[in-house]
């Protein structure tokens, strides 16, 4: 009887394990197949292609590291200067820093107990939901000479004849393109920061108010420390974001007039020139850069931001440990 019981339990256990295996395999077939097909297979192929001179169709020739050399060789012909196009990321990085600063300020205002802010919040956020091609047309129209932007500026007293062509004048066009990116993503940043700010305990603010802290002190000493993680994360993400800047020049200027960022150039080389090998090498180089930046981000969050149960970061714990060690040494000498 007892023996029998155990066996059925065992059978039952086996059948549950069996079920688990079947469910695991069945549920994973689709996502893993797709992941391999559209991420890892192309990833492997990309590395392979980067050593060949090849088009999409036709003859393939092994050329070793020549594609990589071409990526890193500076030239005076702007069309061929691949590494030089990375300089344009600085415009987007600048834009990203402005964007984060503005988003912090606006998020602080929107959470400061001001009334009737839903409209402002919604209006600031909505550009994030507008599709890329539509954004492209909106800003081609916006920046056309004598159109929207120029009308606003002439209303402020500027003379139309003194205003540059915002999208073709190489002194200003990259700044304008990065501004469109700020236009589009500012609201998303604001929402993220508001989310982080709302998670700060109300009591802490009240305690601050009782101690006579003003708005700025409250922001700097109470709000900032609790949202520093997300701010730093966004700053670091904006590095890889600006290195891989693609959409504004792609949809607005199509990379003309010196606005071709690294990715726009790569897209052109891949799909117009059909230099698949060279484009693959470019992709590999950029990916290595992005992985390095991500590792940096992980390191920063691990050492400076990740807090233990007592709210101390790794760095603070190290300092505390050192101090404790010194104290015990001192203590030892005294006794």
């Amino acid at each position: 009887m007892e023996h029998n019981n155990k066996r059925t339990l065992g059978q039952r256990f086996r059948s549950i394990r069996g079920q688990q295996t079947i469910v695991t395999v069945l549920f994973m077939i689709a996502p893993v197949t797709l992941l391999i097909l559209f991420t890892y297979l192309p990833f492997a192929k990309m590395i392979q292609f980067s050593f060949y001179k090849m088009k999409y169709i036709g003859r393939v020739k092994w050329i070793g590291l020549q594609n990589y050399l071409a990526v890193f060789t500076p030239t005076d012909i702007p069309e061929d200067d691949i590494l030089g196009s990375l300089k344009l990321s600085l415009f987007y990085l600048g834009g990203a820093v402005v964007q984060i600063a503005l988003a912090l300020l606006l998020a602080a205002i929107l959470t400061s107990g001001l009334k009737h802010t839903a409209f402002f919040k919604g209006a600031l956020f909505f550009p994030y939901l507008v599709g890329g091609i539509a954004v492209g047309f909106i800003f081609k129209f916006f920046f056309t000479h004598g159109f929207v932007f120029d009308t606003l500026l002439t209303a402020l007293g500027f003379k139309l004849s003194n205003l540059p062509y915002w999208l073709s004048d190489e002194r200003v066009n990259n700044i304008m393109l990065s501004a469109t990116s700020v236009w589009r993503y500012l609201g998303q940043n604001i929402i993220l920061f508001i989310g982080a700010m709302m998670s700060v305990d109300e009591d802490v603010y009240e305690a601050g108010a009782i101690d006579g802290a003003n708005a700025w002190q409250k922001f700097w000493h109470i709000t900032m420390p609790s949202i520093k993680t997300i701010v730093v994360l966004n700053l670091i993400l904006s590095i890889s974001g600006s290195i891989s800047a693609f959409e504004p020049p792609y949809v607005i200027t199509n990379g003309s007039f010196g606005t071709a960022t690294y990715f726009v150039k790569m897209d052109h080389i891949a799909h117009v020139n059909q230099q698949v090998g060279l484009a693959s090498a470019m992709a590999v180089v950029l990916m290595v850069i992005i992985i390095l930046v991500t590792l940096l981000q992980k390191a920063v969050t691990h050492f400076l931001l990740d807090e233990d149960v007592n709210g101390h970061t790794y760095r603070e714990r190290r300092i505390a440990k050192k101090r404790a060690a010194q104290d015990t040494r001192k203590g030892g000498r005294l006794s």
Partner: protein, 296 residues
């Protein structure tokens, strides 16, 4: 003692008044700054609205920011709809949305279920593979993805495009993974003891509980899919058959490149559905973004 008592009330009211005045001033400045930023957020879109209601004559002869004479002039919208064949575009986009969203949600929820609930060799590896995939910039891969799509005969194929969009979706997986972590395993266990199979546990018990996460994924992935233009442009090359909403605007490049009364109308037609979704689900969108960013 009496002295200070007599002094106190007037002092406090004076200080209060000063504080109140300061508060009013700060709030006014805050409103002005908000209004200034909101102006810049809306003016590019507003200028489009203004232009799309102008007749060809008005468009040619008035400044772009001059208000249209007749706000009931819808001919530009009709013309844009016909020129860009937007009926077809909306139909295709609807098909893509339905298939991609259904597929994505099922696939990611199932994967998250297995990864969260079962310990098996390779569990960590698969998590890491998906995590690493987020590091690879999408555009960079298109060079070789194109060759694979070509080999699979997925160029100019709506199903091919749908499968591609379903396959490149890591954020949904993370949203579901996070959600499963907060669903107690005792739910599964009691159902299993009641004789339920694991299929039953997933489809009958856990899947309905995922509703908030599903709404988040629906909105985020939905807007993303609706606006996706890069792959659509690359893989749905036969625009007369397979254009979607995001790419139908390409009709207005080339010879029609400066007819902004039509272009703006077209742009607004593509924006209106998103605006409606936004107005209806503002709260969920904000919440979803915050949820999606935690791991992103």
């Amino acid at each position: 003692m009496t002295n200070s008592k007599a002094m106190a009330p007037s002092d406090i009211t004076a200080a209060n008044r000063r504080g109140k005045n300061r508060k009013v001033l700060v709030h006014t400045l805050e409103y002005i700054f908000l209004a200034f930023m909101t102006f810049w957020a809306l003016i590019p879109i507003w200028s489009c609205v203004v232009t799309s209601f102008k007749t060809a004559d008005e468009y040619a002869n008035t400044n772009v920011m001059t208000m249209p004479k007749n706000w009931g002039y819808f001919n530009n919208f009709i013309a844009a709809w016909n020129k860009a064949n937007m009926g077809l575009a909306f139909w295709n986009s609807l098909l893509v949305l339905v298939v991609v969203l259904t597929g994505s949600i099922l696939i990611s929820a199932m994967l998250a279920f297995v990864l969260n609930r079962f310990k098996f060799p390779g569990n960590g590896l698969i998590r890491n593979l998906f995590l690493f995939a987020t590091l690879i910039p999408g555009v960079a891969m298109q060079v070789t993805v194109y060759k694979i799509m070509y080999a699979l005969n997925f160029i100019n194929s709506l199903p091919g495009y749908m499968i591609l969009l379903m396959g490149t979706d890591v954020i949904s997986i993370y949203i579901f993974l996070q959600f499963f972590e907060n669903l107690s395993v005792s739910l599964d266990e009691s159902a299993i003891l009641d004789g339920c199979t694991y299929f039953g546990v997933f489809f009958k018990i856990l899947f309905p509980l995922l509703k908030p996460a599903i709404v988040t994924v629906l909105i985020l992935k939905g807007v993303g899919t609706y606006n996706e233009y890069y792959n659509a442009n690359l893989y749905l090359q036969d625009k007369s058959l397979y254009q979607v909403v995001s790419t139908c605007l390409y009709t207005f490049t080339g010879p029609m490149g400066s007819q902004y009364n039509y272009i703006c109308s077209g742009v607004l037609i593509t924006i209106v559905p998103v605006l409606i979704v936004f107005l209806l689900c503002q709260k969920q969108i904000y919440r979803g973004l915050a949820a999606g960013s935690v791991k992103g």
